[in-house]
Amino acid sequence: MGLLRYAFTRVLLTIPMVLILLTVVFLVLHVMPGNPVLVILGGRNVPVALIKEYEHRLGFDQPIYVQYLKYLWGVVHGNLGESFSTGMSVSSQIALHLPATLELSFSGLFIAALIGVSTGVWAALRQGGVIDQVLRFTHIGTYAIPIFWSGLMLQMVFGIFLKWLPTGLQLNPVAAAFFQPITGFVVLDTLLHGNFALFGQALLHLLLPAFTLGLALSGLVGRVTRASLIEVLDLDYVRTARAKGLPARLMVLKHALRNAMIPIITVVGIQFAILMGGAVLTEAVFSWPGIGSFLLQSIKARDFNAIQGTVVVIAVLIATVNLIVDLFYALVDPRVRFS
């Protein structure tokens, strides 16, 4: 199978995944108890006629399969419906919140890779030794810590006691009020404005949430790095390089790590789902205005269309990342296409 054909099949395979998740969430929201109309109208003593009118206006009086097909039709056309609570279009609200989440997730991923790969390499080079043992416990420890708690602890130490870093939001409230977004990515926009003081401020705000998220994922990256590097170090060409007298450090960096990167990147790609779950909690702790915060707001307001839309967007995001990782994998390792 050629690479293009593999890519095409792989793209087609993401469609059922998104469709299934959309259907599950639709069923969860529409079949399970809880009347959103009552929540919108806010209370128990609402006249029946008014409830009926709202149900009609929102389309809840139609059979469930009609509602489902209508929703599906909208999603295919990029229309996620209107938010019940704000009346704004769900897609535009998500578009408003998405950059903050992407900024947080990718910087979290970067930190996870930084900590994970370096500690993983260290553990692999000291295989079986005390450092290896300590790092193993540390790696397991990082995913035993609830992410919202490590976020709060970092906030407490660096934000409240030491007062080195801000404890929430993307910018100071005053700066945020005057801030003109260009792309929506605050760190990028401050650079585009050429405002380096604000850029620094944005980076400082990003530091704690990104580190919280990165730390949670670093253990897994570290373990895969260790395992994958140990495997590669035992391969013939590495042993040849070693026999020829190449210093150990240089050999790891030049030969082994490059090949060990493939499984590492794959695992990081798969962990993107965990990253998104962690982002919701991290955003809640740091008042980060991303789609995780938007999802929690929507859940509190029982805003069905907004909840549904957010889940669909997260599913598409995860499917896209998995797709990119798979294609990258196929590009680097020709064996994939034939299996």
Binding site: P16, M17, V18, I20, L21, V24, V25, V28, L29, M32, P33, G34, I140, G141, Y143, A144, I145, P146, I147, F148, W149, L152, M153, Q155, M156, I160, F161, T167, A273, I274, M276, G277, G278, V280, L281, A284, V285, L295, L296, I299, R302, I307, V311, I314, A315, I318, A319, N322
Partner: protein, 285 residues
């Protein structure tokens, strides 16, 4: 006949030596045992009531209150001791439920094959690829807060984990000679699955239970932290951290530190236990 003391020494020495080589397993057993013991004995070992107010409001940790008190004058240590009951109950129940449903579907899917297998696999893969916490939040948000609803939500999100392992193992075991032999002797359908395939997939399935409990405890903590757990005043680590968050800016560090440490110890214990079990039973492919 070997006399009793001598006999028991013979049996104990190799076990001790075996455990001595399995430090991860031992660490896991100790941590999990400690948490279970404290939770079970909570009514007897907690120094104060977990819900009734005492004398001091927001008292720092000291001789009278080792972990301090909260804004409602409750003893934090007592709340931490009692606070594990809900997370452990939810984690155990939901893990058992998702194991039973997931494994049953996995066996069926792997054994039957065909269209059923393709459909089920597609659904399970889709659910598996989605963040468990976000799915659980969505489900529990619609069902409403509460222990039963948390169990249902967490059970649903972990079904695919067991489905994948059970199905994968079934596909492998199905090709074994002894299954073929049983079929040649006339065993059919459910009987082959029940007596020849399912039992041989159990080791691999049980190997992930401990990790799953650790994961479920973190998910429960996340749900409770976000306010989807039990209403107050029931002690629950995740919820107590949310409660303490409001007082963090004023420097009351003990409200969040101790319940959080309890979650870490519990989750770390089950993770180490899982690692240790995995080491002990060897690689499962």
């Amino acid at each position: 006949m070997v006399d009793a003391p001598n006999g028991s020494r013979v049996a104990v020495a190799p076990l001790a030596a075996w455990l001595g080589r399995r430090r991860v397993l031992v660490a896991g057993i100790i941590l999990v045992g400690l948490v279970l013991l404290v939770t079970l004995l909570a009514p007897w070992i907690a120094p104060y009531s977990a819900t009734a107010p005492g004398a001091d409001r927001l008292a720092a940790p000291g001789a009278a209150h080792w972990f301090g008190t909260d804004q409602l004058r409750r003893d934090v240590l007592s709340r931490v001791i009692h606070g594990g009951r809900i997370p452990l109950e939810v984690a155990f129940t939901s893990t058992v439920l998702s194991l039973m449903i997931g494994a049953a579907l996995g066996w069926l899917s792997g054994y039957a094959g065909g269209r059923l297998d393709r459909t089920l696999s597609l659904i399970m893969d889709a659910l598996y690829s989605f963040p468990a916490l976000i799915l659980a939040i969505t489900i529990v948000a619609m069902l409403g807060p509460g222990v039963f609803n948390m169990v249902a939500a967490i059970a649903i999100v972990y079904i695919p984990t067991y489905f994948r392992v059970a199905r994968g193992q079934t596909l492998k075991v199905r090709e074994e000679a002894y299954v073929e032999a049983a079929q040649a002797l006339g065993a059919r359908g459910v009987r082959v699955l029940r007596f020849h395939i399912a039992p041989n997939t159990l080791t691999a399935i049980m190997a992930i239970v401990s990790f799953n409990i650790a994961d479920a405890i973190l998910t429960e903590a996340g749900l409770a932290f976000l306010g989807f757990g039990l209403p107050p005043p029931t002690p629950d680590w995740g919820f107590d951290i949310q409660n303490g968050q409001a007082f963090l800016q004023s420097g009351y560090w003990w409200l969040i530190t101790f319940p959080g440490l309890a979650i870490v110890v519990t989750s770390l214990g089950f993770n180490l236990l899982g690692e240790g079990i995995g080491e002990a039973i060897g690689p499962q492919g």
